[in-house]
Amino acid sequence: MTQIIQYIQSYLGSDQTPGAAGNMFWALVYIMLVFAGLSVAVIAMNWLERKILAHMQVRLGPMRVGPHGLLQPIADAIKLLLKEDIMPAEADGFVFWMAPFIVVLAAFTVFVVVPFGPTHAITDMNIGILFMLGVSSLSVLGIVMAGWASNSHYPLIGALRSSAQMVSYEVAMGLAVVSAVLMTSLNAEGTGTLSMIGIVQAQLAQGEWFIFKFFPLGLIAFFIFAVAMVAETNRAPFDLAEAESELTAGFHTEYSGFRWSLFFLAEYSAMIAVSSIAVTLWLGGWLRPFPNLLHNATWDLVFSLFPGVTFLLFAAMCFYNAVRMPKHPLFRIQTIGLAGFGVVLGLIGLVLFVPAVSLRVQDVFWFAAKVAGFMYMYIWYRGTFPRYRFDQLMQMGWKVLLPMGLGVLILTASVALLQQRIWHP
């Protein structure tokens, strides 16, 4: 018994990730936390996407289920779970059944190495970024399987489009990633790293986010990645695989109910995953703004207040809207519900002011805030752009992004070499 407790305690206060420390118990706890956090994020994203898109399109979005439609994602989830499980008679049963699981597995497994903070990752692999790219590209397998097994024309075309698209954009994506990884080796020892945590620490050590490194080279690499990641996740304006107006729903046309919701879950967690890569590689991961420049006790305190203040702002928004609710008795429950939600958010905000908590959580906060920025961009693209055509998409991937990626890689390498050999011999 005492051994078990000792085993559990041995990790506390460690400056390693539980995986790296070899502590399976805490690794499991982290896995649970990441999984739960991700599910909440997907639910929140579902609601936010509908709301933000609606407001861009001069509509209100969900308003009926819960105050301001807050319970809509939950209602949808219940609906999807209760739906009849339909498998087309002509479908290849086993492959049809497997496909959503592969997609979900690929989308969730990548979070093993995502660093939410210097110690807040399930594990730290020395090939972290490779692992992420490799596993996330497995999802194309699931999509092809889904399209093939449905034994139907639209899903087949959708799957073919999707596989071609993901395969060709991965090349450009990889080149952009390599140029960022190259930047990690610009230290005294000249040793780079593929570890996700190492990449962020390299940005801390070099005193700038890689997006600003060798301006504008880092920015261009980031831009290539930002375009490729939208294509990689099959989102607008590259949502050809599920182009609603052309292929009804693309590769998941024949899926419904729970199986469909797995694809949905996978799509959103894949969006979060690629955004995490972008944040880690170019935007300093968990680092707060100006960690080197504004580095003293006062600034540390100021920045540690951000998580709590953010939640208090959300709470204030809830209270403001609760006050604005119509005074009709029919709206009483909604008003109380919204105010209650505000109280919960406010309490979380207050807890986040406790120094012991905020010290541990602020890394996660900055990481999540940066990822949220990307999520907003995703919604914004969807509200603004028409859809690319298949050949135009391929043209862009192979004729624009790939040469750009190669050029940036070569230039980055040359500049890095010059810097090491000539300017700082």
Binding site: Q57, H153, R161, A236, L247, R389, Q392
Partner: protein, 384 residues
């Protein structure tokens, strides 16, 4: 599937290209339930990968026998039925029908009625083009313009609702003039709408006209030459975008279009982008016409002297107007009784739809959607 070749449009002279690597063609049934076929159009696509080798339209899923119904209704009773053909431009349909019967009866609507008719039909042209723009953009993947256009179309529908009580199938006109005098503040509201709407066109254009993806998706897509348009009988903005300056409002002026000063926007390339530009320009021209009409709205009667029981002299008449989608013609044969002996409608959507095959040959699947959108068809009118 090879026998499909024989049923392809005779206008098409080139034979379909041989599929790459002799792969099997894929025959896809698009519709009648499909998000982008604007109703219940069914398109049988022959594909080589994503490339369209040929297509065939199957229509008739919305057939209600409007023309046959016309033979069993009196001239007055049939009037509301025409609203159900092109239901997004119901006012134009009514305009065409009423003018045709008036021609048959040899009566003319009084000037005030003519002016109000022009105002309402031009408003309807704007509303129809707005709906086209929204759905066309939606088909190409831009989901936001739809909501903008519907928001602004609402203002037009409000004017209709105030004028005649209905928003969509308005039944706004009567044979010989108008049923209702305009309501109080009609002119002010129409003028307000024009002031409100002018900047809105710029807003739509801001989202799309210079949007790189939009231009790439529409330029050189669904190209059709003016000659082919004429051979197929294609009219309306599709014809004008191919460079043929043919607008019935100028070519065979009806109502009192002679009194108004407006231009006919035309394109050069006959591609989807030109058709987009032409329709956007047409909305501006409609605003111009409405402004002139409402500024010079005369006083006077709104109804000409027409007999209560209409018995037009035996004979036949064809009259066509420039509906938002093209030439909308009515051919009526009268045997001197209260009901038409034969009533035939020449709907623009039905004729324009013929061009789909010519325009889509050799393009990609995604372009078929764009071309269906740019033809601006309404299945209620295609099938009648």
């Amino acid at each position: 599937m090879t026998d499909r070749n024989s049923s392809l449009s005779p206008l098409d002279l080139e034979t379909p290209e041989k599929p790459f690597l002799d792969a099997n063609e894929l025959v896809i049934n698009m519709g009648p339930q499909h998000p982008a076929t604007h109703g219940v159009l069914r398109v049988i696509l022959r594909l080589d990968g994503e490339k369209v080798l040929g297509l065939e339209c199957v229509i008739g899923y919305l057939h209600r026998g409007v023309e046959k119904i016309g033979e069993h209704r009196t001239y007055t009773m049939f009037n509301p039925y025409v609203d159900r053909m092109d239901y997004v431009a119901a006012v134009s349909n009514g305009m065409g029908y009423c003018e045709t019967v008036e021609k048959l009866l040899n009566v003319e609507a009084p000037p005030r009625a003519q002016h109000v008719r022009v105002i309402l039909t031009e408003l309807n042209r704007i509303a129809s083009h707005q709906l086209w723009l929204g759905t066309h953009a939606l088909d190409i993947g831009a989901i936001t313009p739809l909501f903008y256009t519907f928001r602004d179309r609402e203002e037009i529908l409000k004017i209709y609702e105030k004028y005649c009580g209905a928003r969509l199938t308005t039944h706004a006109f009567r044979i010989g003039g108008l049923q209702y005098e305009t309501y109080n503040g009609f002119e002010r509201e129409v003028k307000n709408f024009l002031d409100f709407f002018r900047p809105k066109i710029d807003e739509y254009e801001e989202l799309l006209t210079t949007n790189r993806i939009w231009v790439e998706r529409t330029r050189n897509i669904g190209v059709i030459s003016g000659k082919d348009c004429i051979a197929l009988g294609v009219t309306g903005p599709v014809l004008r975008a191919s460079g043929v300056k043919w607008d019935l409002r100028k070519a065979q002026p009806y109502a009192n279009y002679k009194d108004f000063d407006f231009d006919i926007p035309t394109g050069q390339n006959g591609d989807t982008y030109d058709r987009y530009l032409v329709r956007m320009a047409e909305m501006r021209q409609s605003v111009r016409i409405i402004q002139q009409a409402v500024d010079a709205l005369p006083e006077g009667h709104i109804m000409a002297k027409v007999p209560k029981v209409m018995k037009p002299p035996a004979g036949e008449v064809y009259h066509s107007i420039e509906a938002p989608k093209g030439e909308l013609g009515y051919f009526i044969v009268s045997d001197g009784s209260t009901q038409p002996y034969r009533l035939r409608v020449r709907p623009p959507s039905f004729v324009n739809l013929q061009a789909l095959d010519v325009m889509c040959r050799g393009q990609l699947v995604a372009d078929v959607i764009a071309v269906i959108g740019t033809l601006d068809i309404v299945l209620g009118e295609v099938d009648r």
